[in-house]
């Protein structure tokens, strides 16, 4: 039974409760970070890590934190985690820290983490909260990857910039620069959410037949 619930929570975090495509939360970092596939994936992985850890801690403390001061407590715990991770990375994995660089402090203001602490971790067991963290985190990372792939190809004409396997897809100068800037972010995000919703509605309809 426990095994099933874990996988179920994991799956719903990635699909039915996908933070970006379904819940539409964490939009700010999503727009800011999806300028290249590498940035999107890096942010996704870092955020997933913080999300799982904070979900576990907040779930473990859920019976101890009084409801009236829970938001303040969650924010302190989450910000503390992010700062600790930042220091550890800077000290022991400086190269990784240089690549992820500015994204780590940005995680503190990622409302997905606070939202999950409030909506799930404060009401469920540690085990399931970890599953939720993983599922939502993966869902977030997948969403970021899709959006940044689209924006990077159209906006910069490359894919995988920053990785060793980077490819140039469009000829020099022919990309629509707007797509890696703010307006393009909104346009790309809106269209992709529309497409994802269309596909998932069709799948649901097909399943009901």
């Amino acid at each position: 039974m426990k095994e099933n619930k874990f996988l179920k929570t994991l799956k719903s975090g990635m699909l039915a409760d996908n933070p970006t495509f379904v819940q539409l939360i964490g939009m700010c970092p999503t727009l800011a970070v999806t300028t290249s596939l590498k940035n999107g994936v890096s942010m996704g992985i870092a955020a997933t890590f913080v999300l799982v850890m904070s979900n576990i801690v907040i779930s473990a403390l859920r019976k101890v934190i009084p409801s009236k001061i829970r938001i303040a407590s969650y924010v302190v715990i989450i910000a503390g985690f992010v700062s600790v991770i930042e220091m550890l990375l800077n000290a022991y994995l400086p190269d990784l820290s240089a690549s992820l660089g500015m994204f780590i402090p940005l995680i503190v203001v990622n409302c997905i983490i606070l939202a999950r602490a409030e909506a799930f971790a404060s009401k469920n067991s540690v085990w399931l909260s970890a599953a939720d963290g993983l599922g939502i985190g993966f869902g977030f990372t997948i969403a970021l990857s899709i959006i940044s792939t689209v924006r990077e190809i159209i906006g910069a004409g490359t894919i995988g910039d920053g990785f060793s396997w980077a490819l140039k897809i469009l000829p020099e100068g022919s990309s629509m620069l707007m797509f890696i800037l703010a307006p393009g972010g909104f346009i790309a995000l809106g269209i992709i959410i529309g497409v994802v919703t269309l596909i998932s509605t069709k799948i649901k309809k097909g399943g009901d037949m």
């Binding site: 940035n39 009236k68 303040a72 700062s83 550890l88 400086p94």
Partner: protein
């Protein structure tokens, strides 16, 4: 809320923030030295990247040159086999899009740029952040005269090609290189006139 409740919540919150605060202080204490070490290594690596030399232990006293920008923080004498082969100018260049850009400009004894290495920056990912790309930094090699502008296309002999969508970042790097060239020329002429 009764006074009792206020006190209870206040104390609970205090305990939580105290525990997190101690954890932060603890991790900070444990990692402080390592982080400082890493920064030193990073800077040393930057020196080695911009100029071929093995000794960077000597520094020029900044009082001997006049730097209008105020961005030059160190001028290291690059030596190889006991001989001075050039200089590494370390700058905290202001005017970047996201704030100061920390970089090193290497020059030979003729004030000719041998390389540019970026230590840290806060430029926009996908745009100004491309300043770390070799294709952009390569342009500065061999320059020994002031670069007049960073242009969008077809740079002349005294200009450089700006990063696409990032003219502010490009100008900041250009200014850093110009300051470095000026500083080394002053050193060659025997310091402040």
């Amino acid at each position: 809320m009764s006074v009792k409740e206020i006190v209870k919540y206040g104390i609970t919150l205090f305990v939580i923030t105290a525990v997190v605060g101690v954890a932060l202080a603890g991790v900070n204490f444990l990692t402080k030295e390592k982080i400082a070490e890493n920064t030193v290594v990073k800077v040393q690596d930057a020196y080695k990247e911009v100029i071929e030399a093995d000794d960077f232990s000597n520094e020029i006293d900044l009082k001997e040159i006049s730097d209008e920008s105020g961005c030059i923080k160190n001028i290291i004498v690059a030596q190889k086999g006991g001989e001075t082969v050039g200089y590494c100018v370390k700058l905290e260049q202001s005017g970047g899009y996201g704030g100061a850009i920390s970089l090193v400009v290497g020059l030979d004894t003729e004030a000719c740029v041998t390389g540019v290495s970026v230590i840290s920056h806060a430029e926009t990912a996908g745009l100004g952040a491309n300043l770390v790309k070799e294709s952009f930094r390569e342009q500065f090699k061999g320059r020994s005269e002031e670069i007049t502008a960073a242009v969008k296309a077809n740079p002349s002999e005294t200009e450089i090609q700006a990063l696409s969508g990032a003219t502010i970042t490009s100008k900041a790097v250009k200014n850093a290189v110009n300051s470095s060239i000026k500083a080394v020329k002053q050193i060659n002429e025997g310091g402040k006139q």
